[in-house]
Symmetry: C2
Subunit: 230 residues, 2 copies
DNA sequence: TAGGTAACTCACCAACTGGTACAAACTCTC
DNA sequence: GAGAGTTTGTACCAGTTGGTGAGTTACCTA
């Protein structure tokens, strides 16, 4: 058995300096194979959970074979961790992009909440993976060196808004950025994570497009009213 | 194979009219066996999910055998549904007990939120089951005749409080009882359901007893500020 | 163009897992 | 206390599932 390929090696585009325009459509492409497995595995794990997902099924939905999964990732567990890491990496990339510094504190908080709302709504698979990971008491997440690092950069943006709001005498001072983040996250995550049981019991689909604008408004009202209450 | 025993038959205490004081500690006790299986299965499913839980493990943690699980419940799936039904039944029993009609609307809403908070905190297994069920898109819950009935009675209490608050000109009128319930539930469920990933990423344990009072206060402030904001 | 290695294929397995056949043991009724 | 139905224990099975041994082919470099 040969050793699995290194993780840090990029797509191999730098290999042939002459045909730089188009890497001539290699039949064998480690990076593409790896990415495809990760993509399919992400869907399967989000769909069925760690225990429910089947390595054979993941392999079947890939253009490669089960043996390749073990070749590249080593096992079901490592594959799952790789999926988790990829999912968090994507979310963090998106979070970096938010730019609300030019708004006044109240508008900024409302905008931040709204963007978080949109963000969660358009990434249901991520939320499912997070739910699954919580069922496992985050044991896999804890096993990943990448994911236990320093806290989320999105929190800094929120902290800055709160500071500005407090300096202007607009915001309450008995909560911190993490409290606010928790409230926003809770509302946004709940809509997706508990959609099905909530719908079955209360007969309201939390992700019904007809309710979307109302729900988004509610979140903004909620957070702003809370922070500005004296 | 004989037919499984009827569900509606009570504990058999009515069988022997003479020894009414103490059903003489029967070695064979269908109801007790059934209840014990359900109890253990509840813990196992909450712990490992539907796919992750093992019938053999459930049986081993019981004082009876795997054969009994199939005798009483028919299969893993039916056992899981029975667990779900029991869990929801217990929660609804508790919800019936809240009595906040004597309080003014603002105090009543705060009390309701606080009780919901306490309630969720003391039933983590229930929340785990709900999370698991959502991962399965509530397919098992939908298959249960018991659980798809009319909506939660807790909603009526909430609706009454809102009506009183609006009549007194205290509460906003652009949200309904379900919106409020959603906000409260989201906050309460999030603390337990996302405890582990949140803790791993932000290094704050949402269920840390030291934070408990603060979190409970936040929920009350949040809901009251929102509803009373003009 | 030869050779080395990364990428890949195929066939296979041991353990697990939900489920069951069968019979024994117990309880109640008459 | 005999007969009938209920409850329980033992042993077992067939399909599934994560995982692997070993050989093969494409790609790159010298």
């Amino acid at each position: 058995m040969s050793a699995p390929p290194s993780d840090s090696d990029p797509t191999g585009a730098a290999s042939s300096p002459l045909s730089a325009v188009e890497p001539p459509e290699r039949q064998r492409d480690a990076e593409r194979t790896r990415a495809e497995i990760l993509e399919v595995a992400g869907r399967e794990f989000a769909d069925s959970g760690f225990a429910g997902a089947r390595v054979d099924v993941i392999a079947a939905k890939t253009s490669t074979t089960k043996r390749m999964i073990y070749y590249y990732f080593g096992g079901k567990e490592q594959l799952y961790i790789a999926v988790l890491e990829q999912a968090y990496a994507r979310i963090r990339d998106l979070e970096q992009q938010l730019d609300v510094e030019h708004l006044d504190p109240v508008a900024a908080i409302r905008e931040l909440a709204g963007l978080t709302f949109d963000h969660h709504e358009s990434h249901p698979d991520f939320i499912r993976l997070v739910s699954i990971e919580n069922i496992h008491r985050a044991e896999f997440l804890a096993r990943s060196a990448v994911l236990t690092g320093p806290a989320n950069p999105a929190l800094d943006v929120l902290g800055a808004i709160l500071d500005r709001g407090r300096a202007a005498g607009l915001f309450r001072t008995d909560v911190d950025a993490l409290d606010v983040h928790q409230v926003i996250s809770a509302y946004c995550v709940f809509r997706t994570a508990n959609r099905h049981t909530f719908g079955a019991i209360f007969h309201r689909d939390l992700l019904d497009p007809a309710c979307r604008a109302h729900q988004r408004q509610v979140l903004g009202d909620l957070v702003v009213a809370w922070l500005t209450a004296g």
